[in-house]
């Protein structure tokens, strides 16, 4: 066991009293206690200090149509390739929302949420993000994005970052994912996310059985490592994790039960963002949160579906940013929005688009360099009908690791990504 429990003596010396400080103390409480005692001022918990910063990842699953998200309305080739799907100039009815009139680039008309974020200096658009030898399989490309590795076969990039930046075992709630299963991106060699689709299910379901089993369950699962159990044994590990689980469940459910400071829309994604906002407000030590929304695989009848998705994403992100501001947490939270690939330049015969390559990413928060970054991929110099990427997604990851989540994991990006990627000038910090 490399994990040495803190002795009572150290706590008393430091003047910290924790009544529950026994061998049954769960790991992540020990972790917070360690941070509290650390003589290293860089590990303090003052807002604005890097270890206090939070990353929220939002995944658009299915392959978001980048060209109808950040719209090159000024390009003839765009209109030629998409006779019925192209979005018009900002002056036309249902035209794009203006982003950059020199380049002739706008936002999807239903992305009013993003336009408002841009107006308040909180939206950065990174154009043409992708990777070499693009894979057009949903699974394979998603794995590449999640691992940050060309073959897509490794632990996840966030999980490896947490592994790299934490000395010893990562805190049990360092990563929280909302969804049916934990995303590969968050699986490290040691790091493992707390994940739940619905906080109600993040507890023992036997409590709902008739006959009142809760008290007996709690007695067994909140006891921690029992007397007579070797602290280094598998049994002790399980007993401590069981206690961790109860405390984490209490905390998450209590946080999420509170009503938010701002109104969120009633959509699924907004619900996830509301839960994340609640956990941040509650002061959880989580560094990275994960949310996702499905439905971007628009092979047919794309226009209506995609418009609804754009509205859902824009409104959810705007509400979340308002929430952060109302909480006073706006300067320590950054959101990254990505999809596994964009779609082909030309529309297909079913009024939809097929799997493509490069697409824009979005960063949201007060600490972004607001505006449009990078180069929009050419619509005439194509690779077999697909866009050629202009920014490698691993540069965005590297920027977020080394310049946003930085301090404790300084220099982790190169290790996590297996090589150096240029950081981008997309942040104000």
């Amino acid at each position: 066991m490399e994990h040495t429990p803190f002795s009572r003596r150290i706590f008393l010396q430091q003047g910290v009293t924790l009544a529950s400080l026994t061998s049954t103390l769960p790991w992540f409480i020990q972790q917070s206690a360690m941070a509290m005692l650390s003589p290293d001022p860089r590990l303090s918990s003052r807002p604005g200090e890097p270890e206090d910063r939070i990353l929220v990842v939002v995944q658009l699953s299915g392959g978001n149509d980048g060209l109808n998200t950040v719209v090159p309305y000024g390009s003839d080739a765009y209109h030629r390739a998409r006779p019925s799907l192209a979005i018009g100039t900002p002056t036309t009815k249902d035209g794009a929302l203006q982003l950059d009139d020199k380049q002739g680039i706008g936002l999807h008309p239903r992305l009013e949420g993003f336009r408002d974020l841009l107006d308040s200096g909180c939206l950065a658009v990174v154009q043409g993000v992708g990777y070499p030898n693009p894979n057009r399989s949903h699974f394979a490309s998603m794995d590449i994005w999640h691992t940050g590795k060309p073959g897509g076969r490794d632990h996840g990039w966030i999980g490896r970052y947490i592994d790299c930046s934490c000395s010893g075992s990562p805190a049990a709630d360092a990563e929280v994912a909302i969804g049916r299963s934990a995303p590969l991106a968050m699986m490290g060699a040691k790091a493992n996310p707390v994940s739940f689709e619905n906080a109600r299910l993040y507890q023992w379901s036997g409590k709902e059985l008739p006959g009142g089993l809760t008290a007996s369950y709690d007695a067994a699962n909140r006891a921690g490592a029992l007397d007579g159990i070797d602290p280094g044994s598998q049994a002790a590990f399980l007993m401590r994790t069981a206690l961790d689980a109860q405390l984490s469940s209490d905390r998450v459910r209590a946080a999420i039960a509170k009503s938010p400071l701002v109104n969120y829309p009633g959509t699924k994604l907004a619900g996830q963002m509301q839960s994340i906002g609640a956990m941040i407000r509650d002061g959880m030590k989580t560094r990275v949160y994960y949310a996702s929304i499905n439905g971007f695989d628009t092979h047919g009848g794309q226009a209506g579906t995609h418009g609804n998705l754009m509205r859902e994403v824009g409104e959810a992100m705007r509400a979340f940013q308002n929430d952060m501001k109302a909480q006073g947490n706006q300067d320590r939270v950054m959101t990254m929005v990505f999809s596994e690939f964009g779609r082909r330049v030309a529309q297909n015969a079913s009024g939809g688009t097929d799997h493509g390559t490069a697409a824009p990413m979005f960063l949201i928060g007060t600490q972004v360099q607001a505006g449009v970054h990078g180069t929009h991929p050419s619509l005439t110099n194509l690779d077999d009908g697909d866009l050629r990427f202009t920014t490698d997604f691993r540069s965005v990851y590297a920027t977020l690791m080394d310049r946003w989540l930085s301090a404790p994991g300084k220099g982790c990006a190169a290790k996590v990504l297996g090589g150096r990627y240029d950081t981008l000038k997309i942040l104000r910090t």
Binding site: Y217, A220, D227, Q234, A235, F237, T241, A242, A349
Partner: protein, 494 residues
């Protein structure tokens, strides 16, 4: 003091607890009457019953169990239609062909789910638990993931191959995996050719399948091994050696030079000492103890002895497994309840041991995914790390809640029915353990269900929990008691 001896367990130490330990490790556990039957035998006969499973009748699995044609290569006629569509720029036809391809993708993923459920069901029902247990071990060892293969039938064929040779010969398994279409696809060897060798399979053969990371090979050995493997590919469902893709020039692997092919490459690395040590250490973590750092320095003496046996038997697995499963070391208290159940062991074990209904296989299969072990979808070519890495706060709740589902039928949307099955066999086992003394029921239930000996504190807690149920442990009260005992942290031990 831990007993590190590989001498057979003494008959006087052989009892129901030892038999249960064997049944859980070499299989997935079984109902009380199976434990009693094993306990009544001599230890060697009990091991024989599990290990020499060829004598146990089994349900044959015809190749027609699943549709082998979902991913069959296109016929000449189909190729021509699709070429014509491209040539004529016939968008409507191209669109139609694309839709057909999408439909086949969907069907294939659906079939993969069916194969996952079929295997879980087979593990639950089999009369040869050790064969399935070892098939699962090899699946994690020669880890191949559907996402990199995208051919459910090839995954099934690989599974059949591993099952057929589960306790056969390791060198033979290596030769077969080099001819396995799913593996050749997963590690890109189908794209490896003379002049442009793909190193993936050669690297993993050294690092993960045979030698172990850093065990004496160099990057040059990998490069030369990759050249030897060029031309190893497949045609539809069978291995193909394409001589025109094979690099037949001289290669030097571990200092020996020749016009090696893939089989020669495998033979060269198998002729070394490291593979037996590497595989025996892995078997140790799979069957004996998976605590962090295991096998440690002392346990390596046991591994060394097993590896020697493996070399003497030219990689035959049975002599090694027989020695281990019969050994005093295997039954030593230090190695009881020293492993954490994998998600599959948890699901299959609970069903076999408690006799709960199987419920909905699709729900159970989805739960294995949530617990981190989706069959045919290992997280990487390294397989599942296992041990303590199975457990975190989220997976622990899923494990406990899955047991509530199996025992009561209660899912996320409710649906609990405490009377949905009759726990009479469990009641009967309690009666035989307590000789009818109801005051000993709580302790007997702990002893029956847990792999570890519960501590006095836990026993006291559990006795009051049982008293709180308000009456004799039978029927619905016993069902509720099972929900509690399987929610104990120690229930995750095996």
């Amino acid at each position: 003091m831990t007993d590190f001896s590989l001498e057979p367990i003494r008959t006087s130490d052989w009892n129901a607890a030892a038999a249960r330990h064997l049944l859980r490790r070499a299989g997935f556990g079984g109902p009380p009457e199976q434990v009693q039957a094993l306990a009544a035998m001599k230890p060697a006969s009990a091991v024989e019953l599990l290990l020499d499973y060829e004598r146990t009748p089994t349900v044959e699995i015809p190749d027609s169990t699943f549709d082998k044609d979902i991913r069959r290569p296109p016929t000449a006629e189909e190729r021509e239609v699709s070429q014509r569509a491209r040539r004529m720029k016939d968008e409507a036809l191209q669109q139609q062909l694309q839709q057909m391809r999408n439909e086949r993708d969907r069907e294939d993923r659906e079939q993969l789910r069916e194969i996952q459920q079929w295997w879980l069901q087979r593990m639950i029902e089999t009369g040869r638990p050790m064969q399935e247990r070892m098939t699962l071990f090899w699946h994690g060892h020669f880890a191949t993931g559907y996402r990199g293969v995208e051919n459910s039938y090839h995954m099934f064929l690989q599974n059949q191959m591993l099952r057929q040779h589960a306790t056969g010969n390791f060198a033979d398994l290596v030769m077969r995996i080099l001819r396995d279409p799913a593996m050749l696809k997963y590690l890109d060897n189908d794209e490896s050719r003379k002049g442009r060798p793909n190193e993936n399979l050669a690297r993993e053969l050294m690092e993960l399948f045979v030698l172990g990371e850093g065990n004496g090979y160099t990057e040059d050995d990998i490069k030369e091994g990759a050249r030897a493997l060029t031309g190893y590919t497949f045609d539809d469902d069978t291995f193909a050696f394409e001589t025109n893709r094979h690099d037949d020039g001289p290669k030097t692997i571990f200092g020996s030079t020749g016009n090696w092919n893939g089989d020669d490459f495998a033979r060269i690395i198998l002729s070394r000492k490291e593979p037996s040590l590497y595989i025996c250490a892995k078997l140790y973590r799979t069957l004996v103890n998976d605590a962090p750092g295991m096998p440690g320095r002392n346990e390596m003496r046991v591994v060394d002895a097993l590896a020697k046996k493996m070399r003497e038997g030219q990689y035959d697995l049975k002599p090694v497994l027989r020695t281990l499963l019969l050994s005093r070391h295997f039954y030593d208290p230090a190695n009881r309840a020293s492993m954490i159940k994998s998600p599959v062991q948890l699901v299959v074990g609970a069903t076999r041991e408690l006799g709960v209904p199987v419920r909905n296989m699709s729900t159970v299969n989805a739960a294995t995914d949530l617990m981190g072990q989706s069959l045919f979808m290992p997280p990487s070519v390294k397989g599942w790390d296992g041990g303590q890495l199975w457990i975190n706060t989220s997976t622990l709740f899923v494990r406990q809640n899955l047991l509530v589902y199996l025992i009561t039928g209660a899912g996320p949307e409710g649906g609990a029915d405490l009377g949905s099955w009759d726990p009479a066999p469990i009641r009967a086992a309690l009666d035989s353990a307590t000789a009818g003394d109801a005051s000993r029921d709580a302790d007997a239930l702990l002893d029956l269900v847990l792999a570890c000996d519960a501590t006095p504190e836990r026993r006291k807690q559990f006795r009051s929990a049982m008293e709180a149920l308000g009456g004799p442990l039978e029927g619905r009260r016993l069902v509720r008691a099972l929900c509690l005992v399987t929610a104990l942290p120690e229930y995750q031990l095996c």
